[in-house]
């Protein structure tokens, strides 16, 4: 590898770092993405003119096919489906690492160079294949869960963790056997098979509500897979980029765990969330709550001077974000101070709710993070909750026996009055009843989020 090519790779790595840095602020984020794109383009072009490249047929075919699929997917994906899409992209990144490592290994064996393999090389090949394959199959399961192709409920069986540990152990034993004789191609295929099972088994016990953590973690894995491939090829730009992505995925994983007050181990192994919330029976008694009609609620909203909207994933499922912004705009035009309070785990991936609201043309400076707005609830006339439940449940603060206890929540209960749009009194993902529904200052608006907000808009216009 020539010095010139390596210098361009260094330039790429620098552009990735500057790009990521710029992705950290809304003003520069688009520019940051562009820097990263240029970095990638430089890396690709430089590789294409490398003298070790002899023929271009397969390269052109691969880039054309992959580029077309990627561009198409990126154009048509719905913002609500963003988590699945990212899961799938993660998976492809992992698969690429596996195939590159496998291809390198087979080519070397074919050339009769297996006896030249150092132990380090075998370790890096096995790691690259292992992480890549686990990422691919884990991502497929995450995709299937998010897309509703399989139940979001955790799938558990006895000895699951022991099985996973055993799979990993056998993989390392096989790697050791490869060190004795690297030409045993069949061992590599067995390792791929084991890694596939491991990838599937490690994601199926994780409940639908914990998906933000899983996606972040798989994102981290896809970075580590790229780095491992970098070790195989002895290519620094892969190692650096992979490490950056690995770190970013870990940070997001950590933020998500904190937002749910759970440890990573608890998310991965505790199989929380027994079933999807849709299957829950309503436990509450409707006679104990204060029910409001859209007409009454519109009048209350109209007389308020400040409003905080608390959107949850139920809002996005009902596709009510656009009409919600219409409601907010009407109220703002009438002089009401309107803001949105965003819980870190609102949505199905980190920051998902922000994207959904941005799509509905909500300016991002109206979106306020939990820590910045929690103090303001007590000075706010109305907190309007739509499609959120567990993240506003005061039990997280007060009830030591509640599974939610300790989770940071939005202080909706401190607002002067609360308005909750909800289909029924059924509990959320965690399956915990919410005492806020029965609070005398809470107005319950029963119905589908989109229909209810549409009715509110209509009533407000008629006032």
């Amino acid at each position: 590898m020539s010095v010139l090519i390596d210098s361009f790779y260094l330039l790429s790595a620098v552009l990735f770092i500057i790009g990521l840095k710029n992705l950290g602020s809304p003003k520069t984020a688009r520019k940051g993405n562009l820097y990263a794109m240029i970095g990638m383009l430089i890396a690709i072009v430089v590789t294409l003119i490398d003298k070790s490249i002899l023929h271009y047929t397969y390269i052109i075919a691969g880039i054309v096919v992959g580029g077309a699929i990627g561009a198409y997917a990126a154009k048509v994906v719905e913002m609500t489906s963003m988590p699945q899409m990212v899961a799938l992209f993660n998976g492809f990144g992992g698969a690429a690492s596996t195939f590159v490592a496998l291809s390198e290994y087979l080519a070397d064996v074919e050339r009769g160079e297996a006896f030249l393999f150092s132990n380090e090389l075998i370790i890096t090949i096995v790691l690259s294949i292992l992480i890549g394959t686990v990422t691919f199959f884990g991502s497929l399961i995450a995709f299937a869960k998010l897309q509703g192709l399989m139940s979001g409920a955790p799938i558990v069986f006895k000895g699951q963790q022991a099985t996973n540990a055993l799979l990993l152990l056998v993989t390392f034993a096989l790697a050791y056997m490869l060190m004795q004789d690297a030409s045993q191609i069949e061992l590599i295929y067995v390792i791929i098979g084991l890694a596939a099972v491991l990838g599937i088994l490690s994601v199926i016990p994780i409940g639908g509500a914990d998906m933000p953590v899983v996606i972040s973690l798989l994102n981290s894995y896809s970075g580590l897979a790229a780095a491992a491939t970098g070790f195989v090829l002895n290519n620094n730009v892969l190692i650096i980029s992979g490490a950056l992505v690995g770190a970013s995925g870990l940070i997001l994983t950590n933020i998500m765990c904190k937002a749910m007050n759970r440890s990573l181990a608890n998310v991965l192994f505790a199989a929380v969330g027994t079933s999807d919330s849709s299957g829950q029976m309503a436990r509450g008694d409707k006679s104990k709550v204060t029910e409001y009609s859209a007409e009454d609620a519109a009048m209350v909203l109209d007389s308020a001077s400040s409003l905080i909207i608390v959107p949850g994933y139920g809002l996005a499922v009902a596709q009510a974000q656009h009409v919600l912004q219409e409601l907010a705009q009407i109220l703002m035009d009438r002089g009401v101070k309107v803001r949105y309070a965003i819980h870190p785990v609102a949505g199905r991936m980190p920051g998902h709710m922000n994207v959904l609201l941005a799509e509905a043309n909500v300016p991002y400076d109206l979106l306020v993070e939990m820590d910045d707005i929690n103090e303001d609830f007590q000075n706010t006339d109305i907190a309007l909750v739509i499609g959120a439940n567990d993240v506003i449940n005061p039990a997280a603060r007060t009830d030591k026996d509640s599974p939610l206890y300790g989770m940071p929540i939005l202080n909706v209960d401190q607002a002067k009055s609360v308005m909750i749009v909800k289909r029924s009194l059924s509990p959320g993902f965690a399956g915990v009843d919410n005492s806020l529904f029965y609070d005398p200052k809470t107005m319950m608006l029963f119905g589908d989020a989109k229909k209810m907000v549409t009715d509110l808009v209509k009533e407000l216009k008629d006032l």
Binding site: S12, A13, L20, S25, P26, A29, R30, N33, L34, A36, M37, M40, I44, D50, S52, I53, Y58, I59, A61, G62, I63, V65, G66, I69, G70, A73, K75, V77, V86, F89, N90, F92, G93, A95, A96, F99, V100, S103, A107, I215, N219, S222, G223, T229, G230, F231, N234, I239, I240, G242, A243, L244, A247, M332, M349, G351, H352, N354, V355, L367
Partner: protein, 98 residues
Amino acid sequence: MDGTILISIYIFVLAIFVGFEVITKVPPLLHTPLMSGSNAISGITIVGAIISAGAGDYQLSQILGMVALICATINVVGGFMVTDRMLEMFKKEKKQEK
């Protein structure tokens, strides 16, 4: 060989620290684009895939390289495009107070 892998490990560890430094302060607002953007960066495996698909003369390796290239290109092109699409939607409030 020993020296090379050690240097690679150095680079790996230092890059992880750079990643932590650069990304820790990203606001929740941008978590999704950060994830899809960094996801596209992890598609850097495309470099390895190009070499696998275009170098050598063992056809099975080249075909595997091409499959890797398809996967990596989906990752790179899709990741960057969808990130741009999202970031385009983030707008600041248009002079709300008149």
